[in-house]
């Protein structure tokens, strides 16, 4: 079946290299990249773990668009038999296709993306009405796998290194709507700082490219509203 080949171009630091990779019917971008490391250039560095779109560690730029490579079928992105991959945008490159994701996670924490609980393991679990509007809102963003695809898609992050970015703000919004979370003021403060939600220009690339079909843009808009209400009520 592998009579055809795919022309794969890889950004590797300052240089670009091209490889001809055998094409198969069932093949993801991750498979094409893996083929190069396993058969052509053993020094090629890339990252993956789960292989099924759960861990969010395999994202790369594919033809200029950030994607989970393990869940992107080649046929969906190949253009005239060619593919171009590079390291994820907006994060420091460690080597070849591997980026340092720490800045992204530092911002996740800086956005107060951590549960602020009131109960302990000795208490009963809080009953929650899953149909309440707040919970529906919280649930809408909860499946984020912190893959950084949205972060790489956002031009604001590119130009404004302090900007917390879409996924961390989505997490903050989820917590703000979580009836179990007691960190309201801390969250609103965290997302109102100089790198906060107000830097977002609603360009919507985050929502357009999130492979999970989540909507950070609307979540950020929600934060803008809540921070304004909070300020107008004169709590700061």
């Amino acid at each position: 079946m592998s009579t055809d080949t795919i022309r794969l171009t890889i950004d590797r630091g300052s240089e670009t290299q091209a490889f001809d990779v055998p094409a198969y019917e069932s093949q993801t971008v991750l498979d094409v990249v893996s083929w190069v490391q396993q058969n052509a250039d053993p020094s090629l560095a890339y990252r993956f773990a789960c292989r099924v779109g759960m861990c969010g560690s395999c994202a790369m730029m594919v033809n200029g668009v950030p994607r989970w490579t393990c869940r992107t079928h080649v046929s969906k992105v190949v253009e005239d038999g060619a593919l171009h991959v590079g390291p994820l945008r907006n994060l420091p490159v460690i080597r070849d296709l591997v980026v340092d994701m720490d800045p992204f996670f530092d911002k996740w924490i800086a956005a107060e993306g951590v549960h602020h609980g009131t109960r302990t393991r000795d208490d009963e679990i809080a009953p929650v009405d899953e149909t309440s509007p707040a919970r529906v809102e919280a649930n809408s963003g909860i499946e984020c796998i912190n893959c950084s695809v949205c972060y790489a898609a956002c031009d604001t992050v590119a130009g404004n290194p302090d900007y917390l970015g879409p996924a961390p703000l989505l997490r903050a919004w989820t917590l703000l709507n979580d009836a179990k979370d007691a960190g309201r003021v801390a969250i609103l403060d965290a997302v109102s700082g100089s790198g906060g939600c107000h830097n977002c220009h609603s360009m919507g690339s985050c929502t357009a490219y999130c492979p999970n079909e989540l909507d950070p843009m609307s979540a950020i808009a929600g934060l803008k509203r809540e921070t304004m209400k909070h300020a107008l009520r004169g709590r700061r």
Binding site: N63, V65, H84, D155, S202, G204, S218, K224
Partner: protein, 117 residues
């Protein structure tokens, strides 16, 4: 790669963003000029008239048209953005809003064309 990357990444909301930004930048750069010309009105009306006569020429007229047009685009883009951010839209409402915005934009453009035509 960069240009191709932008081409591949572009999508309607992003285009709206870039148009809004470029129009805003354009307006901001033009504004001092505009003020300067107006200030002439009082100090040197003759010069202003000379300048205004200029507007009869094609290029200048085109520039003026571009300006008004730019202001309109920027304003509607801005109002769209404010609605997007301040009104908790649901997805279908968003589509509706986008449709309404583009309709009003179209009307505005027609209006302007008529006015200048």
């Amino acid at each position: 790669m960069t240009m191709v990357a932008y081409k591949n990444r572009a999508h309607p909301l992003w285009l709206a963003y870039i148009v809004h930004r470029l129009s805003g930048l354009f307006l901001a750069l033009f504004l001092p000029l505009h003020f300067w010309v107006l200030a002439m009105a009082a100090s040197e009306p003759g010069r202003l008239d000379g300048f205004l006569r200029f507007t009869e020429y094609g290029i200048v007229k085109a520039a003026e048209f571009g300006l008004v047009f730019g202001l309109a685009i920027h304003m509607f883009g801005g109002l769209r953005l404010l609605a997007l951010e301040w009104l908790p839209w649901s997805a279908p409402q968003k589509t509706l809003a986008a449709a309404a915005a583009s309709a009003s934009f179209l009307i505005a453009a027609l209006f302007l064309m008529r006015a200048f035509g």
